[in-house]
Amino acid sequence: MDGDLSPLAGRDAASHLLERATATSVALEGVSKSYGGTAAVRDLTLQAGAGELLVLLGPSGCGKTTALRLVAGLESPSSGIVRIGSDVVNDVDPKDRDVAMVFQSYALYPHLSVARNIEFPLRSRHVPAAERTRLVGDVADSLRLSSLLERKPGQLSGGQRQRVALARAIVRRPKVFLMDEPLSNLDAQLRVDMRAELVELHARLGTTILYVTHDQVEAMTMGERVAVLNDGALQQLDVPAAVHDRPANAFVAGFIGSPPMNILRGRLVGEGDALFVAVPGGRLALGDELARAARRRDLDEVQLGVRPEALRIELGAAAVPVAGLLGTIAATVTLVELVGHEQNVACRLAGSQLVWVRAGAGGAPMRTGEPVVLGVTGPVHLFDPRDGARVEP
């Protein structure tokens, strides 16, 4: 809070700024926010632990920015509680919440030099000039901005602007960083570099970070945990591996992965003890545990989730089922995408559903229109078609 800074004189105020690296947790508890009739955030509950880098991931318009603005205090929740540390901050002014935000647009002041931009938050907190210069110098050094301090934002590249926005957030050592798609305006190469730099920065500062992105690669590589949002509601909050391997519902499954998981409509067919999922063009056997779980749910129709990596293309419509496969599906190649040395192949099933297959290197090049048999190597996932929820084995 700036209130406890101002009484301190000169050097004390600044060293206080530097010391305050103790991390704080952030929590939204049952928070909703609607604009007029439309709900931007629905009953959102999530917590970022002290010092954690929590990624909010979701498609455009799912309420990620709104969630950050609620934490920052730029919006007040229609209902629910916002907590920073143990304090409820619903009625605390944005400037007193001690959070810093990196905006999607960077929000640099176009008329101020880089140095002035960075020291802007320090000026309002009455940090003496000498300290301001020193702090700005330090931050600029650490973000390789020292040679750009006299430029205006309009004279910087996208990556440089992004670093200025970061520097402005870092310089006052807030309790919490809120970052709204900070890398979305950068080209692919720079994005990869900045990703690593942000992770390193987080390790160095130890500050809690809420990081918003719609880029799942960013989320999976940077996040200690990932919160997947859709349509204003939390879908899953877990470590990246779990979000990938055990998606909580069909939405998460269909959102994560590149190409994402195939979701096929199918029917459960029992044969004695064994349980199969029948899809147009083939069927596959379910493992014992998954079969039991499906039976317990008393399902008939199911959504079958298969990652493109769990499919293998066997050329020729008449190929025989091979041992080790859960099953086979007949399909027709409709599109071949070359990604580096890999092929992503889109195949159409008899029921006209589209399935993506990740075909590794060395495989024969596919031709469109060719009939193929897809071998399912597993694992597969089942989702309840009524609510999309995962059938947990």
């Binding site: 905006f103 929000a107 938050p121 309002s124």
Partner: protein
């Protein structure tokens, strides 16, 4: 239609000649009255009425300019005009900036209604408000004082409108970033909104200055003595009282218009930039 290269060039040249001819005509139309004023200021009174009119003063009479100061109190009029104009310009800028900021950045009940009311003042001609304003001024005991000349013009619908537009061009993220950085409305206004709107502020400032400097009807009504009379009124009194000093009046007119000329020349670039450049980039 087929055009040979030569034909095209002829047409290009013809186009350019026409354009310049038009510009020359327009320049003459604008500059000729000013030139005649200068000539008449330098001619003795007797020659001004001469037929055919004298277009070049062979014996320029520079003393009319000093006579304007010594006999016609031009010094006092200029001083009064300066006081009134600067006060009005500053007041209009301050009130417009504050009101425009509220309309652009702060949510309050009836915001749009109040804004439309502000705009509606643009549609009321000055002539319609002269009588009520005069009565108000009189009731305040301000007749023949500077407040009477200044206060009725301290706020401007045009200014509010122009600045609101400029402020609306400032991304909301800037306001939010500043709020997180600890800046309240007033400090955001001074440190960010105003600096970013400088071209519009300059353009409106010049506009306000010229409007105030050239005011005629209102100052005529509410002033009685030279101590508060502005240049246009002073010259008008002079011409009414002293027909044979018409050269002095021409000289006074020139001197009275001088601040406007200077202003336009000095701020020419600002004005053009205000009209062409967007206020916020990247």
């Amino acid at each position: 239609m087929h055009s040979s290269p030569a034909g095209r060039r002829t047409r290009l040249v013809a186009g350019r000649v026409t354009r310049y001819a038009l510009l020359v005509v327009m320049a003459v139309v604008v500059l000729f009255p000013i030139y005649i004023t200068v000539v008449n200021a330098l001619l003795p009174s007797a020659e001004i009425a001469h037929r055919p009119p004298v277009l070049f003063p062979t014996h320029p009479q520079w003393s009319t300019f000093s006579t304007a100061f010594s006999h016609a109190h031009l010094g006092i009029y200029l001083r009064n005009s300066a006081i009134v104009t600067v006060a009005i310009t500053v007041a209009e800028l301050v009130t417009s900036v504050l009101a425009a900021y509220a309309f652009a950045f702060i949510r309050f009940p009836l915001r749009n209604t109040v804004f439309v009311l502000c705009l509606a003042t643009l549609m009321v001609p000055m002539e319609a408000t002269v009588i009520p304003n005069y009565r108000t001024i009189e009731a305040f005991g301000w007749y023949n004082t500077f407040p009477a000349l200044i206060v009725p013009f301290a706020a401007s619908g045009v200014g509010i409108f122009l600045l609101r537009q400029a402020f609306l061009g400032i991304p909301r993220d800037l306001r939010d970033a500043a709020a997180l950085d600890g800046y309240g409305h007033l400090r955001f206004l001074m440190r960010v909104a105003v600096p970013l709107s400088r071209p519009v502020l300059a353009a409106f400032g010049i506009f306000a200055f010229m409007g105030a400097w050239n005011q005629y009807l209102w100052p005529l009504i509410v002033t009685q003595t030279d101590s508060v009379r502005t240049v246009p009124i002073g010259l008008r009194q002079l011409s009414a009282a002293n027909v044979n000093q018409i050269d002095v009046i021409f000289a006074g007119t020139l001197l009275g218009a001088l601040p406007i000329f200077v202003l336009l020349i000095v701020f020419q670039r600002q004005l053009v930039r205000g009209l062409t450049a967007g206020s916020v980039k990247g």
